[in-house]
């Protein structure tokens, strides 16, 4: 960003830019040299930015009508759905928007896994991204509690009770989280406060994520280092902006499909029953995007063990750049890793399915196998492959393979 030679054309622009170089920043973002072979899997960064802004804007207006109190929260949601002008639309955008956000973030993460985008020199981008992902889960969880339905209440009870597994201080921590001896009004009001705050922390981290990205520049489908700017790059604007916009359009069609044709399909009918602390629903399931982790939690027949494995399955991702030491980034040139990548995807999908099923019999058995494999992939297979795998030759530039043919 430093070696910019941009000078604004107008006199006022120059005066302002000398005092606050916003125009230089704008020029940097617009000229930013981008690998010319980026495929559509790379459009999800833009889509995710859109999702975050959508959640913030819809959340802001929903907060104007929502009441964070155990006696009124459930009714205020129905008030939004029935009385508030376009309230149904805003709430459906917000609730389905969370799902679309996670859909996009999972594609974004698996894209990074396939093309090795977490490897040197992009470890910090990866770690910031993972922090964003963890905050997203916390935000989504707290948001799901706000309607104060049965799933809200019991989901909150189960998740906050995870902390009670901590030896000695567990109970004090859960009481502190609850502000009482169970999930109740103090819990609801603090969740609302934090649910409002976290998206702005995420926004800050997103800015750091992009900043960190702009230091080494984008990775690309063949995962090689490229000279910037060169014949291998195109300026971000208009080439990438227009591609991102097209992808966003397709994404919005799917998003709208959910909002207008099946707004409740990703939710749970039990959450349209008001919270009742005396009755637990017979089958508690979290939202779909947390199911694989839920399956891991339930696959361990020990409380503390299950909680440790649940958190380990998330935090292990932070260490990924040091678990996979292979110098070759892109799976395109890693014939064996490529296969394990797809097995991991299947493993996570299977875990997700098991998380939605009752924890018994064959489901439990499959969840256990899936859990073991998940950790095997990161702790054994990846480090082993780094030294054992014979990778294919990498081209010297993006244009090379095309020109040879």
């Amino acid at each position: 960003m430093s070696e910019h030679t941009y000078t604004p054309s107008s006199k006022f622009g120059k005066w302002f830019n000398d005092r606050l170089p916003l125009l230089t920043l704008g020029a940097h973002l617009s000229e930013y040299p981008t690998p010319k072979n980026l495929n559509y899997w790379w459009t999800f960064g833009g889509i995710l930015t859109f999702c975050l802004v959508t959640q913030i804007v819809t959340g802001l207006v929903l907060a104007m009508h929502y009441v964070a109190h155990v006696d009124m929260a459930f009714d205020s949601i129905e008030h939004i759905m029935r009385d508030v002008n376009y309230g149904w639309l805003l709430r459906y955008i917000h609730s389905n928007g969370a799902s679309m956000f996670f859909l996009a973030v999972y594609i974004h993460i698996f894209r990074a896994l396939f093309y090795g985008s977490y490897k040197s020199p992009r470890e910090v981008i990866w770690i910031i991204g993972m922090l964003i992902y963890i905050l997203m889960m916390a935000t989504a969880f707290m948001g799901y509690v706000l309607p104060w339905g049965q799933m809200s209440f019991w989901g909150a009870t189960v998740i906050t009770n995870l902390f009670s597994a901590i030896p000695f201080v567990g109970e004090s921590i859960t009481n502190w989280l609850w502000g009482g001896y169970s999930v109740d009004n103090p819990t609801l009001t603090r969740f609302f406060s934090l649910h409002y705050l976290f998206p702005f922390i995420i926004l800050g981290l997103v800015i750091l994520h992009i900043w960190a990205l702009h230091v080494p520049g984008n990775n690309n489908p063949i995962g090689i280092d490229i000279k910037k700017p060169s014949k291998d790059t195109v300026p971000f604007h208009p080439y990438i902006t227009i591609k991102d916009l097209f992808a966003l359009l397709i994404f919005l069609i799917i998003f709208s499909g959910f909002i207008f044709f099946s707004p409740n399909i990703l939710g749970h009918p039990d959450n349209y029953i008001e919270a009742n602390p005396l009755v637990t629903p017979t089958h508690i399931v979290p939202e779909w995007y947390l199911l694989p982790f839920y399956a891991i939690l339930r696959s361990v027949p020990d409380k503390l063990g299950g909680v440790i494995l649940l958190f380990a399955s998330i935090f292990i991702l932070l260490a990924l750049p040091w678990l996979d030491r292979s110098k070759v980034r892109s799976a395109v040139f890693r014939p064996i890793y490529k296969q394990f990548f797809w097995i991991l995807i299947i493993d996570v999908l299977v875990l997700g399915y098991m998380g939605a099923m009752p924890a018994e019999g064959i489901y439990l058995l499959i969840a256990r196998v899936g859990t073991i494999y998940y950790f095997l992939h990161f702790l054994v297979i990846l480090p082993l492959l780094s030294s054992v795998e014979k990778t294919d030759p990498i081209p010297a530039s993006i244009s090379d393979p095309v020109l040879i043919r």
Binding site: N161, S164, G179, P277, A359
Partner: protein
């Protein structure tokens, strides 16, 4: 040289002292922001509940709310009592005698909260005729002791007393 060294030492002391006072000050400032999340006086004030148990038939139970949590008050049948008392303690993940969990053998008063992750177990279900937690599959016996599943300990017995033959005070 000797003078200079002395000066540095005094400065070091001042730095350390300042950092220490600063850290204590920051800690003292942060504490109210953390402690405000702990249970407040109004929550603590609701700590006892009195329950009339005269209407409960043998084999039946009622559920009352205490501190936002369900409390099971079960009037156990002879069969259930003998089942609870005859268990070999070595078979229990969390060994507790039935006698230590009740004040009168007929009445079992306990927090209806699964010790795994806080769900409310269902009565008269599970493999041990006691309670079964639908969330993650913990089985409890007729004394509310964990027998099978992920829950680590028996269901908790709250502090309670018999005010008279028909009334229990919880808390």
């Amino acid at each position: 040289m000797d003078k200079g060294e002395k000066k540095t030492n005094r400065r070091d002391f001042l730095f350390t002292a300042s950092y220490t006072v600063g850290a204590v000050g920051i800690g003292a400032t942060i504490w109210p922001f953390i402690d405000q999340m702990n249970p407040d006086s109004s929550v603590k004030a609701l700590a006892t509940t009195e329950v009339d148990i005269s209407q409960i038939e043998p084999g039946k139970s009622i559920t009352v709310l205490w501190r936002g949590k369900p409390v099971f008050i079960k009037r156990r049948t002879e069969a259930e009592i003998s089942e609870a008392q005859s268990v070999n303690l070595n078979e229990l993940p969390h060994p507790e005698k039935d006698q230590d969990r009740v004040k009168k053998t007929e009445w079992l008063v306990m927090l209806g909260v699964c010790t795994h992750l806080g769900c409310v177990p269902l009565a008269d279900k599970g493999e041990y005729n006691g309670w079964f937690c639908p969330c993650h599959g913990s089985h409890y016996d007729t004394s509310g002791r964990i027998r099978k599943g992920p829950a680590p300990v028996n269901m908790e017995i709250p502090k309670y007393e018999f005010v008279d033959n028909n009334t229990i005070k919880i808390g």
